[in-house]
Symmetry: C2
Subunit: 229 residues, 2 copies
DNA sequence: CGGCAGTTTGATCCCGGTCAAAATATGTGG
DNA sequence: CCACATATTTTGACCGGGATCAAACTGCCG
């Protein structure tokens, strides 16, 4: 394996307060991975042997119900830790992580987690902040599902994606990884047909543009208004 | 304030590994509170100045939407910590905590959190396990809301309550605090009318018994079957 | 006993799920 | 480069679960 550069980690929140030699030590213990789109990084309820840092791409976190239905929980943007079950005292992964596009990630054995938390200044607090952010996101998901209509849930789901992995283009802000109507429906708790109908309508109104597996938000502001009812 | 006994804390997970003098020190720093039913312990988005331990009773954790609708997130059973925003790097409470009945609680200033985590063996890991459990519960909520019908969501909401604060009676297992149809509807993301209809049906079938603000589950097994579809 | 909080029940309506089929991209091997 | 198989999207028709509106009923407390 070729040597990884310290600058990979030094700007990321969990490592920001560390010195070069510490980062070097962390990197030297890491394994790097490449995953193709739609390949799973780990599976729900498997023993959590490693934890991961996403260097490039987006990871989709999904749960599969006993009846085979999928629910999408989160999208992890690059630069964030994931698969950090041990942060919450779990020893198995609570969900499945799937590469939403081709991705690059580092990983470390779970056994190092304790070490990172105790040895590295700021690692614990920063990672718990990330966990806190995700809990917040799940909270708002629950509130939305309880109180809002499908249209607003879809609008908000798209805006969430745009905010964390949007890429500016000439037509508007593009979601930076391939995403299907089915994917969106699994985020919003609805069906792909309904998503298709809504998106078609929004495209007619100039709110968005879309091709197969690609969505560009042209008018985020009006979409926000829709999401707020 | 009268002296609190060490045996209050010693059997609880976060304190289980501690010695008597340590528990004494913790108790001596605590403030104790009594809240009447329906009084709020703290309000969402207020600065998180203290964290709490519920000694007796049940606390309902709710969020209020901009449009004034309430969504119930959790019920905290006695013996558990709550209001532990700092565990996830927050400095405000993410939700409102309301006494579901008359309750007793202890509290400590947020500034002691760091101390507890570093000084007391097992406190950190045990509290993160509690956080992990609540995250799990929210996860299953999201899955349920995305995939299941109202009937199953209500069934599961009741079973969750029964499992964590059920009290055995001659007729079945009773939910140990006053709970209205409206409360149940806010847990399941539906309306009080729908809850009323469903519960009436179940009562006719002998699954439950209910009086005003009181629900007794007579046949948990059949209710579980209903909840699994 | 009056009044309020909680519950029940009925009637109606519509959002969004379901079933079905066609249209449009993408990819693959010959 | 074309033909065929497959994945994704679109659109239509239908209908049912559950929200909404409305009103009566029941216990409970001061």
């Amino acid at each position: 394996m070729h040597k990884l550069d310290e600058s990979l980690l030094s700007p990321l929140p969990p490592f920001r307060q560390l010195q070069k030699p510490q980062i070097r030590a962390i990197l030297d213990q890491a394994t790097s991975h490449r995953f193709d789109s739609n390949v799973s990084v780990f599976e729900q309820s498997a023993p959590a042997r490693r934890f991961f840092l996403l260097l490039d791409g987006t990871v989709r976190v999904v749960k599969i119900t006993p009846n085979g239905e999928q629910v999408t929980f989160l999208h992890i943007p690059s630069g964030q830790l994931f698969g950090i079950a041990q942060a919450l005292g779990r020893d198995t992964y609570p969900a499945t992580a799937i590469a939403a596009c081709e991705i690059l990630a580092l990983s470390w054995p779970t056994s190092l987690w304790r070490e990172f938390v105790t040895d590295y200044q700021g690692f614990a607090t920063e990672t718990y902040k990330v966990v806190g952010d995700r809990v917040d996101e799940m909270n708002t998901r629950i509130v939305e599902m309880s109180t809002q209509h499908v249209e607003q849930r879809i609008a908000r789901a798209l805006l969430r994606l745009v905010n964390q992995s949007g890429r500016r283009t000439e037509d508007g802000i593009e979601i930076s990884f391939p995403i299907t109507r089915k994917d969106v429906s699994e985020m919003a708790g609805t069906t792909l047909q309904t998503v298709s109908r809504l998106l078609s309508g929004w495209e007619k109104d100039g709110l968005i543009t879309s091709q197969r597996k690609k969505i560009i938000i042209c008018d985020p502001h009006r979409l926000t208004v829709l999401g707020d009812l």
